[in-house]
């Protein structure tokens, strides 16, 4: 089971993307647990997490967020703007899987 969390300002628009990513994972036959949260809660949400994704609208928090994630050895990345804007669940899922792969 791969555990992914998406962080944005309120976990609102990322919530829409979560559904699309779960759909994409089902098609690929990958077992996932994906959730949307607020970036403010990042520090409390990293237990047993495989990868953290930031919405591009909170991309400015990357230096701060990365510091917190590095401490827990959780890879983190900012979702590309175009994939986010078009709510492309498959591409964002692949982006997350690549981040996990790179961190190994």
């Amino acid at each position: 089971m791969i555990k992914i969390k998406l962080f944005c300002a309120a976990g609102f628009s990322t919530g829409m993307l979560v559904d699309k990513m779960i759909e994409a994972a089902k098609e690929k036959g990958i077992e996932v647990d994906i959730e949307a949260c607020s970036q403010h809660e990042l520090g409390k949400c990293l237990e047993n997490l495989d990868v953290a994704l930031l919405g591009p609208q909170v991309g400015y928090t990357l230096p701060k967020s990365k510091k917190i994630c590095d401490e827990k050895c959780v890879p983190i990345g900012v979702i590309p703007m175009t994939d986010y804007g078009t709510m492309n669940g498959e591409k964002v899922l692949n982006f997350a899987l690549d981040l996990i792969e790179e961190s190994k």
Partner: protein, 114 residues
């Protein structure tokens, strides 16, 4: 995605992109890279314009008599745009302060060497 959702996402990502660029500008200015900071602020303002245009397209629709559905997500998107706009304006002022402060620090350091 519906047309409305597409416009909403345009609002959110471009408003967010603008804010991100402005924060990057602050970081560059802190390191003394003023040219980069200036470029990033230009990009921040450009991103705001793109977001603003997305919003204007909806306002035009409503002005033309077409009903625009107000969803919580739409309000949230506008919240993003408004906070980005005010934050970018404030960051512009903070950048000026940062540059002045760096100059003053340099001056003090020079005087200290005398």
């Amino acid at each position: 995605m519906s047309e409305m959702e597409t416009v909403i996402m345009q609002l959110i990502i471009h408003a967010g992109d603008g804010k991100t660029k402005a924060h990057e500008a602050l970081r560059e200015a802190k390191e003394g890279n003023y040219k980069e900071a200036e470029n990033l602020m230009k990009l921040a303002h450009e991103a705001l314009i793109v977001a603003h245009n997305a919003q204007t397209s909806l306002l035009h629709k409503e002005a033309a008599g077409e009903k625009v559905e107000i969803t919580a997500l739409f309000v949230h998107a506008q919240d993003h745009l408004m906070t980005s706009m005010s934050e970018i304006n404030l960051i512009e002022q903070i950048l000026d302060l940062r540059i002045e402060m760096n100059h003053l620090k340099d001056q003090l350091a020079m005087e200290g060497l005398k």
